[in-house]
């Protein structure tokens, strides 16, 4: 039985999600104690509850100590059941994180799956939909599986209520991912969106981003969303290079001006551009599991976060892999996943 300590590293929900995902794939049961041990409110919150529930259903797992607020969990999967599923997360918790939990098992399953996921689609503290769709899936699909997503309704914090469909055609043989070099810049696109709040906010963000990142007008889009329950605002920058695509997202919030949101985002994009690496910090995080489940590989990225380091440790608990971080220069690092 694998034993996981939820206070390790950044000590949040990712430890639980990575454990669930890899337990499903490997069939190895695990126990976790001190779930979200470093958070102010420890234990299972609603979005984690839904994630465990989804994992339980897909893996026909036996779960002990499973209740709201629980700080320990015993998870033992049996067989993966691909198929049609619908999972909902309340309280604007991220549906993306539920997706992240069950995707590895379904992309390696012995049949296709069709998912409908409801809840938050664009939360500041989870990978937003357009990042997953445009940046992550591009890399993932290059490794073998065919995963496609379609957004039906936006779910912004705090109203939530978003919805998206996912179709997964699994691949039994996951390939290798090598992204040492993003190649030359093809184009940069800016997308500023609002829902149920004045469009001028998106216009101001677009203006600043275009100026700071030197984006030509035909690549700047301002959108007034109608398919959202609650109010919301995001600004996204897509950086398309010869060998990779990265997406950066900034969130509008109450009490923070549109200009400030745009400037913050622009500087995040700029540090990626200056570092001259293939993968940003969030994408680096997402790619580790598929690489470890496939044939490994290597990519260049910005300085790894505590989140990434924690993720690596949990992966090593389940899989016999060697993951090495190497600093290349002042701004660039490389992460190499090697199968034992």
């Amino acid at each position: 039985m694998i034993e996981i300590d939820g206070t390790y590293g950044e000590g949040g929900g990712q430890i639980l999600r990575t454990s669930l995902a890899l337990s499903l794939v490997t069939g190895k049961p695990f126990t976790i104690k001190n779930i979200r041990g470093n958070r102010k409110r420890t234990g299972l919150l609603r979005q984690h509850f839904t994630a465990v529930n989804a994992a339980k259903e897909i893996g026909q797992a036996n779960v002990e100590e499973f209740f709201m607020g629980s700080e320990t969990l015993c998870f033992a999967p049996s067989t993966i059941q691909p198929g049609d599923y619908r999972f909902s997360v309340g309280s604007a918790g991220s549906a993306m994180l539920v997706f992240q939990t069950i995707l590895p098992a379904l992309m390696l399953a012995d049949g296709p799956s069709q998912l409908t996921l409801e809840g938050g689609t664009h939360n500041p503290w989870a990978p937003p939909f357009n990042f997953v769709e445009s940046a992550f899936l591009l890399c993932l699909n290059s490794m073998g599986p065919k995963v496609a997503m379609k957004l039906e309704r936006y779910g912004f914090y705090p109203a939530g209520g978003g919805s998206f469909d996912v179709s997964i055609t699994p691949s039994t043989k996951m390939g290798k991912l090598n992204l040492m070099n993003r190649g030359s810049l093809v184009c940069t696109k800016v997308l500023a969106q609002v829902a149920n709040i004045p469009q001028s906010i998106a216009e101001r963000e677009a203006l600043i981003l275009a100026r700071k990142l030197n984006v030509s007008t035909e690549n700047v889009v301002v959108e007034n969303l109608t398919n959202s329950v609650g109010p919301g605002n995001i600004a996204s920058v897509m950086v398309e290079s010869e060998f990779s695509t990265e997406v950066f997202v900034g969130f509008g919030e109450h009490g923070v001006s549109a200009e400030r949101v745009a400037k913050r985002l622009a500087s995040e994009v700029n540090s990626y551009l200056i570092a001259d690496v293939a993968v940003g910090q969030h994408l680096a995080d997402q790619l580790l599991i598929p690489m470890a489940l496939g044939k490994g590989g290597e990519f260049t990225s910005v300085k790894p976060t505590l989140h990434t380091e924690t993720n690596i440790e949990v992966i090593k608990e389940f899989l016999d892999v060697d993951i090495r971080i190497k600093q290349l220069n002042e701004k660039a690092w490389s992460i190499k996943v090697a199968l034992a």
Binding site: M68, G90, H254
Partner: protein, 535 residues
Amino acid sequence: MKKKIVIGLLGTILDSGTSRKRWEKWRPTVSIGQFDDFLVDRFEILHTRDSNRLAHCVRDDLAFVSPESELNLHTVDFNDPWDFEEVYGRLYDFAKAYPFDPENEEYYLHITTGTHVAQICLFLLSESRIVPGSLIQTSPQSRNRTGEAGTYRIIDLDLSQYSKIHERFNRQTRDDVDFLKSGIATRNKRFNEMIEEIEHVALRSNSPLLLLGPTGAGKSQLANRIHALKKTHNTVDGSFVEVNCATLRGDQAMAMIFGHTKGAFTGAVNAREGLMKRADQGILFLDEIGELDLDVQAMLLRALETGHFLPVGSDQESTSHFQLIAGTNQDLSKRVQEGLFRHDLLARINLWTFLLPGLAERPEDIEPNINFEMEQFEQNHGQQVRFARDAQKRFLSFSTSNEALWSGNFRDLNACVTRMATLSSGGVIDSATVEAEIQRLHKTWIELGSPPKPSVAKKHIVDEDMWLSLDLFDQIQLRQVLKVCKESRSLSDAGRKLFEKSRLQKQSSNDSDRLRKYLAKFDITWKDIEAVRSA
């Protein structure tokens, strides 16, 4: 895990908003669906017919933020949401019809929405366990983080779960009981139990209380303390009015109690309102109620039952709502048989009856009462008084013996302590003062017509030194045993009486032997007892 069910009223103001802007404000009912650590399995939302549209909007929004929850709307119509009777009635009906299943479900009453009257009703329903659940109170996020869920608190009204509150209740009851006893740490079990019962009744009831007991047993003092206790608990507004009915005769009694108009009778120069009117919203203490004339009794009964009475000479009824405390030393049922007391009045006042034992029946309480009287003397005279050690021993031994009749009860004790304290030299009561006081008490009790009983427990039967070496516990037991012996024909007769129960249960076959052995422990033989009896 039990399912969580939230029951709440739709807030026509706090939950309002059907436009797109509604997500930018805090809506308490919707917020419950947004808490990331509180998963509601079912919502039961009560709303009026007028707010049908809003109710559907809130329900649909809850479906977005809490897709896990089942959502039910209920129409509950209030004509006036501030009418307590109506709101409580409607909510009560809802609760009574609701299929509560506390074994599998937990209920939370949301009290943030609805009028204050509705909140009070929900509170009452929860507190009375008609709704077997807790309260949930939601609050908006501070600062301007609009549209966010804010915070919630769960309040369980089951007070027994709060040990601190429980402890305070107990302490309050102890304080109240102490208060009724004027802070005297009495030791007599029966007396203490009675005071606890009086505390209980006094704070919960405005029905008449009947205090029985010999003169000086403290009826008036107790009635006064009951009033003061009720006053501190805000269960009485008016004053404490007290009269000894034995001092009232004829017309004067009527006029005194019920008041009179100007010129109602000879000497009625001015109108007077009477004691009953003065006791309005307060307490009327009628001591020696058995002494009241029958016509006064009739009027009193009517006043008790209706709050109305007729002042002497008036054709205009007056009203007074008072609690009656009656005191008597007489056997009122006997007075009823003799035709001197109204049967219906007795029935009316004989609801909460308490028998205050005389001082002689509470020998273990004499010492704390002496201390109390000494403290009172000190407070009134500003002079410290204490007993010399031997003198105290002697006085206690006397005062708890059968020799001390205490026929005037606390009045006697008070007078005797006052006398000794006054006669003390330099604040010390010495043996000479005590001896003189004992003689004085004997004299008083003889003059009052009841000769001192020959000492049973002392001098003649038990050696004094031996008596004083005994614990109070043994003294009390021995005194009673000797009393029974004295009243019995023979050792075996006394043994039969004393060990009747164990004989019936066949636990002891030889009563006389058992008694003989007990007496032998104190160097007493049956002969000693016979000697005293014939003396």
